[in-house]
């Protein structure tokens, strides 16, 4: 009796799964048309295995469209960084699909992911992410080097980006002679260097006081709007949230959208 019931529910579940999959694919196909920059479908992440396994993310989905600036908040250890790493092709999910722009990346090998990160994603890390022996301008030119662009082209683009972010007078400085805010601005400029689909930032203001932090986030928000790209930012600082278009809350492995 109960087995029949189980089988029935199994069948039903499968149908639902199939429908969801189709929906997901549709969403993906639609995504590019509707300018979806990032799409995560049913992402789960389990760390470890057996007795010690921890399910950090449980069937999470998120869509970020062009021009959107999304904030991710949640208690420490909730899985924010994990989420961002998966979205940024740095970590592969246990299950689920990821589209960046119109490309599905969850099945790609490590080498391809490298290229995806180089072409489509811009990162702004918490701190200490500039290369200490490169001058401000070289930090940006490096991205062009990695992508095989000409030095001249990279240089022109780097100068323009740095000017936009108010760093025109710091081109030849090394990271150790910059203030914390300036360093983060260089990071942001670097993140834009490859003209990415999406910018991912993990606590970009953690090492700054709130005034400087706010200025940095404002710049990030402006650039997103201007270029029609997207950004996802993990933050602990609730005073930044009014600069974002959407706020997503992570807790107990689940995602929930919060109204502003």
């Amino acid at each position: 009796m109960s087995t029949v019931m189980n089988r029935a529910t199994d069948h039903l579940n499968k149908q639902i799964d199939n429908r969801e999959n189709r929906a997901a694919k549709l969403a993906g196909a639609r995504g590019s048309a509707a300018n979806t920059k990032l799409l995560l479908q049913n992402i789960s992440k389990v760390y470890g295995d057996g007795d010690t396994s921890v399910k950090v993310l449980d069937q999470i989905s998120l869509e970020v469209k062009a021009g959107e600036f999304v904030a991710i908040v949640g208690p420490s250890g909730a899985g924010k960084s994990t989420f961002l790493s998966i979205a940024g092709a740095l970590l592969s999910p246990t299950s689920g699909q990821i589209w960046i722009g119109d490309q599905e990346i969850s099945q790609l090998p490590e080498k391809k992911l490298n290229q995806i990160r180089l072409d489509k994603i811009g990162f702004v890390f918490q701190s200490a992410n500039l290369i200490p022996y490169l001058s401000v301008i070289d930090q940006l030119i490096l991205i062009g080097e990695l992508a095989g662009k000409s030095r001249k082209e990279s240089h022109a683009k780097a100068v323009q980006l740095l000017r936009e972010l108010g760093l025109g007078h710091r081109l030849k400085h090394y990271p150790d002679s910059l203030s914390g805010g300036e360093r983060q601005r260089v990071s942001i400029a670097r993140a834009w260097m490859n003209d990415p689909e999406i910018i991912l930032a993990d606590e970009p203001t953690a090492s700054l006081d709130s005034e400087r932090g706010r200025a940095v986030v404002e710049m990030l928000a402006d650039e997103v709007k201007q270029r029609g790209k997207a950004a996802v930012m993990v933050t602990h600082d609730h005073r930044m949230l009014d600069l974002c278009d959407r706020i997503v809350y992570i807790e107990d492995g689940k995602l929930s959208e919060r109204e502003m």
Partner: protein, 371 residues
Amino acid sequence: MFLAIREMKHAKTRYLLISLIMVLIAFLVLFVTGLAQGLSYANASSIQNMKADYLILQQDADHRLNRSMITEDTWKQIQQASSDQQGVELNPLSVKMTSISRVDDTKKIDATFFGIDPEGSLAPVIKEGRLMAAGADHEAVADKTFADKGLKLGDMIEDQASGQQYELVGFTEGQSYSHTPVILMSFKGLEATEAGRPATVGSAAYNAVALSGSKTIADQITNKVQGIEIVNKDTALKGIPGYQEEQGSLLMMIVFLFIIAAFVLAVFFYVITIQKMNQFGVLKAIGAKNSYLARSLVLQVLTLSLVCLAISILLTYGVAMVLPDSMPFQLNTSVVAGCAVLFIVVSLLGSLLSLFRVVKVDAIEAIGRAM
């Protein structure tokens, strides 16, 4: 390359210091190599310069020229064994280590007597004076280091052991054996030093026979004649008293220097790599490929070792120029090139450990995670 060069420019002191160490090590490698070659020449130039391909020695003589004995009988067999072959030249040779002095002086000088056929191809190239006459049993030609010791043409020298006296009629060069200068004379002249000793039955006529000819001829003689052994000149060199020990210890020093160079570079780049783990994470996160980072590291190692090699080669030749002539030092281009190639290979080997670490860095290191 973008990263490699900028990093070296930025951390100048660090790379200058390591360069200094590498220059010193490379210099030592070259210098000791030059010394080893120089000593080898000073030790045994008579064998190195000998116009022969092989030496025929008595079996079980440990490849030692002065221990080997070739009887008149064996000599005849050797001649017969190769008589059907073209392009063969056989020249018997006798060796006797002794000490001499000038007749009117008591100061003794170590020397080695070589008994040869003055009309054969072992006859020395004369630099001064003339060759001993074929039949003369009291004429001798000496290595020109004797001239540095105050001997002149026409001087009479006396063998300390037998009291036999010889007239110096000529000087040659590049003739040393076991670090003693060689005095060449006819077989008759050398036999005179044995005069007065009881002649044993079948006593040795010669110590060795120098053979010019192909490997096939050498093999043919070995097969036909009992109780002999044919060795090439390298093996014969090792049979010179003290030669192998001397070259062996120098070779050990050179090998150790290479190992030290590998380790110094390995440790240096390893420590730097470990320090940069986080940077490598960031670089990989922003899209740098393993191959790019690996090339960058290899380029740094290559630049460093090439620059250091160039400096140390110049330094070595500079020092060699101011060395006194009496210092045994010899460095030819092919040996320097060999050392240089080996040095670069060793440097690259030293960087393998770091390469391995760089490749293993995970891009995820860049993102802050709850640890």
